[in-house]
């Protein structure tokens, strides 16, 4: 991964920085320049809540090469309190006990490693509350 590509996403991946449309109130993660609903370009910064509930999930058993060491692992779509939805890994969980609606919280984790000599990539994962 080219370092600049990784670096410019750090505000989202490390600090959950989002933005909110000042006109209609919809939040965007990652932040956007144009509101998809009201087309306004007037936004204010917002930090996402770090707890939410699981909307749907799967267990990846045939992973991309940089995730082989973690396999099998759970992936879910999580609705954070406040309504923003993210896709993330669900770590430190029993893969057989995942349930739609369960409460999860965000933790800062290593996500992947770019080969033997590449950069370590960090970001958010969810764990059961």
């Amino acid at each position: 991964m080219f370092p600049a590509r990784y670096w410019r996403e750090i505000p989202q991946r490390y600090r959950l920085e989002a933005n909110k449309c000042k006109k209609c109130g919809r939040t965007y993660f990652p932040p956007r320049l144009v509101c998809a609903d009201c087309k306004s370009r007037d936004f204010e910064p917002l930090k996402l809540k770090d707890e939410g509930k699981l909307l749907t999930y799967t267990v990846i058993r045939v992973p991309p090469s940089q995730f082989i060491e973690q396999s099998p692992y759970a992936i879910g779509i999580v609705e954070l309190d406040g309504g923003t939805r993210i896709l993330t890994q669900i770590a430190d969980c029993n893969l057989d006990k995942l349930q739609i609606g369960m409460r999860l919280k965000i933790e800062f984790r290593k996500i992947q490693q770019d080969g033997e000599a590449g950069i370590l990539c960090y970001g958010y994962k969810c764990v059961p509350v």
Binding site: I60, P64, S65, I77, R85
Partner: protein, 385 residues
């Protein structure tokens, strides 16, 4: 706008074509389509291809393919819309002819997927999802469709068996298609005991990795009968729509809004309703996709796709046969070619030359070709002339 007809189609058997390069795979099917149509020249070309840059390190297909087909200097453009690239190329050709810019247009699709490892193909396909906010976290395409499957099962009670029945039906149809990559029949039990890829989806819920091409010749409908040796087929509607690239940005994971909107546009343009369609080729990249898509096309009510499949409604002898060719599941899924392959099956059916899989009295057929986790969809409706 001029009416547009399809006057020739061509494709070879799809599969793992180790001995052939991308350019020859394409040219062979283009020559078949030209021969089938009887035309002596073409005015322009549009070729759908998702990711030749990653699969074989080759971009600039417009120049390459026109060159190797021996038709330089006519205009040729590569069209990319992920797995909907083929359908999007058909739409470009349709607009070219309808607008009066060109008379005889070749539309095609090609993908050469087996020159990279399984992991390499997974990576190339994953570029159709959101790199930074989906793929970064380790999700794969089977994973994204598994998230939809879990939602659909939770919300509507769709069963694991009903997912398997999509694969059973499509392989049954594919067994009657000499061009199918995997014509083997499968049973519900075999699907449900195949290895897990992304729960609840198993390997036999997934479409394969395929090399292949497909081409068709379009012309103004008024010229079709004079130019063509075979019964022409009219394209009576073309609908195209987009949705969010990231699955998690959508309000509901059990519906594909780009498919709903593309179908709405196509039905309006053709002045038809879902119940007027005699058969359909839909984008069954995973079994759950066919269940959701037949709902979103309006063939059944939302939530009833699984039950409809179980009841035989979408079987070859059902009320609305779906994927008579075997679908992506059995016929194969060379991503850029898939949308054109769907059109070819409808043309064969409307001409009455589909052999053992012929649908009786087929007059109107629909194709639905989808990219990514549903971020792009192209719908076409065809009618026998």
């Amino acid at each position: 706008m001029r009416d547009v007809a399809i006057i020739g189609v061509g494709m070879n058997k799809w599969g793992e074509l180790w001995q052939k390069p991308l350019r020859d795979i394409f040219v062979e099917s283009a020559l078949l389509a030209i021969e089938d149509s009887g035309v002596d020249h073409i005015d322009s070309m549009y070729v759908g291809c998702m990711s030749s840059g990653i699969f074989v390190g080759q971009e600039h297909l417009g120049s390459l393919l026109a060159d190797y087909l021996g038709v330089n200097p006519i205009p040729c453009t590569r069209i990319e819309s992920a797995c909907a690239s083929g359908g999007a190329a058909v739409r470009m050709g349709f607009m070219d002819v309808a607008s009066g810019m060109s008379d005889i247009v070749l539309v095609g699709g090609v993908e050469k997927m087996t020159d990279v490892s399984g992991g390499g193909a997974t990576y190339a396909l994953s570029t159709a999802a959101d790199q930074e906010y989906e793929v970064y976290h380790g999700v794969t395409f089977p994973g994204l469709y598994a998230l939809m499957a879990r939602s659909h099962m939770h919300q509507y009670g769709t069963s694991r068996e009903q997912l398997a029945q999509v694969a059973v039906k499509n392989h049954e149809n594919g067994s009657k298609n000499p061009l199918a990559q995997y014509p083997q029949k499968v049973t519900v039990e075999k699907v449900m005991n195949s290895i897990l890829i992304a729960d609840p989806l198993r390997i036999l819920d997934c479409s394969p990795i395929t090399d292949g091409a497909a081409c068709a010749i379009l012309c103004p409908a008024e010229m079709a009968k004079k130019l063509s040796k075979k019964p022409p087929v009219k394209i009576i509607a073309s609908g195209h729509a987009t949705d969010t690239i990231a699955l998690h940005s959508r309000k509901d994971f059990t519906t594909l809004n780009a498919t709903v909107k593309a179908a709405e546009k196509a039905y309006k343009m053709a002045n038809l309703k879902p119940e007027d369609i005699n058969l359909a080729e839909v984008h069954d990249c995973f079994t759950i996709a066919e269940i959701i898509v037949i709902e979103d096309l309006g063939f059944v009510k939302k939530g009833e796709g699984g039950k409809a499949t179980e009841s035989g409604m979408t079987a070859l002898d059902g009320k609305i046969p779906v994927n008579t060719s075997g679908g992506l599941k059995s016929k194969g899924h060379p991503v850029g070619a898939t949308g054109v392959g769907q059109l070819i099956e409808i043309v064969h059916q409307l001409r009455g030359e589909a052999g053992q899989r012929q649908v009786k009295d087929a007059k109107i057929g629909l194709t639905q070709n989808m990219g990514g986790s549903g971020g792009s969809t192209v719908v076409h409706i065809m009618q026998a002339m």
